[in-house]
Symmetry: C2
Amino acid sequence: MSGPLSNLLVVDLSRVLAGPYATMVLADLGAQVIKVEHPDGGDDSRRFGPFINGHSAYFASINRGKRSIALNLKLAEDRRIFDALLERADVLVDNYRPGVLARLGYGQDVLAKRFPHLVHAAASGFGHSGPLSRKAAYDMVVQGMGGIMSITGTPDGPPVRVGTSIGDITAGLFTVIGILSALHDRSVTGPRNGGGQFVDVAMLDGQVAILENAITRFAATGESPGPLGSRHPSIAPFASFRCADKAITIAAGNDDLFTDLANAIGLDASDPRFATNEARSQNVDALTEAMEARLQTKSAAEWLTILDAAGVPSGPINDIAAMVAHPQVQARNMIIHTHLPDGTPVIAAGNPIKLSGHPDPAVRPPAPALDGDRDAILKALGLSPITPKDTEHG
Amino acid sequence: MSGPLSNLLVVDLSRVLAGPYATMVLADLGAQVIKVEHPDGGDDSRRFGPFINGHSAYFASINRGKRSIALNLKLAEDRRIFDALLERADVLVDNYRPGVLARLGYGQDVLAKRFPHLVHAAASGFGHSGPLSRKAAYDMVVQGMGGIMSITGTPDGPPVRVGTSIGDITAGLFTVIGILSALHDRSVTGPRNGGGQFVDVAMLDGQVAILENAITRFAATGESPGPLGSRHPSIAPFASFRCADKAITIAAGNDDLFTDLANAIGLDASDPRFATNEARSQNVDALTEAMEARLQTKSAAEWLTILDAAGVPSGPINDIAAMVAHPQVQARNMIIHTHLPDGTPVIAAGNPIKLSGHPDPAVRPPAPALDGDRDAILKALGLSPITPKDTEHG
């Protein structure tokens, strides 16, 4: 792969999502990523649906462009291979529960001493410090604990999970930023204090970090904000609104845009209840009612044309089929093509980081078979191929 | 600020959220960030609630630790200052609508030629290419268009927005990754082809990139997935469940954890309907019913103690007050302290990227007053202080 990170070697012990999402981003930017998987079945997400022809399309989408070697870190001969990988690697990523890697003999103190050039990033549920450090977490648990579920959904409805694993994915993104920051540091200062840096990212911390104004709203009022359906807490109008056939989004983030909106849909822009964002926020129910009375006179498509012409930020509420087919999504190469182990083509989300100095391929290499790159990896390390003791479990 | 990025100078033309969130992450990691604001009021979000003593706590939280100079890029004397900043800067961030910066005379072609060392990152609604490139967007619009609203909420409920501006925030995170990748590239190869790199991140693209398995579910079935309330689409049990008093989250991501869960709550682990994740996913309604019949015999707090002891990933659904007070959040320094212009203390989300080589201060410097650092910035540039022509509008 070409890309800005093409001189980096990443050794990836992680499974399922937070770590693999981080290394997917790195691989999409050109880094060479070697998944080190347990011989007994490898990454759990190889067994996660949806399946196409018996192959996990989920695994294929997150692990495209990586390579795989199966190693049992409890066996001496496999540790020898792992050590050789770490000698060459720039980055080690794991998302074990804190303590697990140390029990395998690769605690941060050991890594910093033996591999002082190595940036070690650990994405875990709760992080490597604090009273819950050793507790297991999945996305669902940190979405609940981190507060985002308490502000998502309708005011009187049940708790709602964000429909994607935002707990894992934001942790993955912060992990990438931590890795690249530590590598920047290494390029400026060299290995620090005789040891490589440790990047410690907790899924729970990532949930706190994306709460935007919810924390300051709590700070300002002493009360926990609740869910607001599709409405923004401090900007109005900034929500979904029903037209004759279905809902659209409208976001008039300042007074000029509100005037443009009012003129476009035939609302009285001089109504003092709607004169400023603060007034509109205080009178948001009356504003919504007045807007929907007008919007229900035409279809969503008709209003979107009118609002676009008036320069008012607005859009459809796309389902996944409509999003995938959308001309802008297609033009931006945001649906890429890869394939399953049997050659079946499959689509996945593309790389949202477009760089002027590098191509943005529409076709990406497939995810690896478990241990599928053993011989090539051993050869590159100058080691002779050894059949692992326990691939019969794989 | 100390931190891994402390040798970087970032010039920030961006406003409101996607760009400012990106530069907040950079500042938290030690980069020196100079906000270049329009003299006529500066960053729009200075006027966004919530307010404390008349000061925007929203602005304070996102812009902590940055500095500010007010420049009108249409005035020659202010352009001279801006040019001097770009001469020294490593990174320029903007989130103008595509085309605006070019009309000001700072299009990417000009920047690449005049400032070949400079990484220029643009976070925009739809990106710098494609049919909608020049269309305005806010978070609400890209949440609607990008598909996440179509998979968030309850199956028969209204469209639901993720309760935080995930459209801006993910674009901000991808922008940081793009910037650090381009800087890595610069450190390896030097300025490319006589020009600095352009990082082009679209909020809509970021929404597509975080959809996780929704795209592969569509690819596998040809049907758009819908919202599932609090439930994960392909893992069961992985949702919120009602106890006697309130709901908790439980996430048993594999068969061993399910057995532990079943034993802990008194469910028959040998029920063939629940034998594998695939079986549990197919029988998720029966599973939920069976689990809640047991869970409603005790309170949430009692069950969380039992599930913790059994090692089953689970947790409370915290509101913001409970999250802020949570011992793990506190232990991880995820609620930091800064202050408003009048000295009033205010809390904000901390930095989720914990690095072994750098401190993680619990107290962060405040957000700047508009133009508050003019003299110091001009002095550092070796320019004599000039009173800007139009600060009377500020």
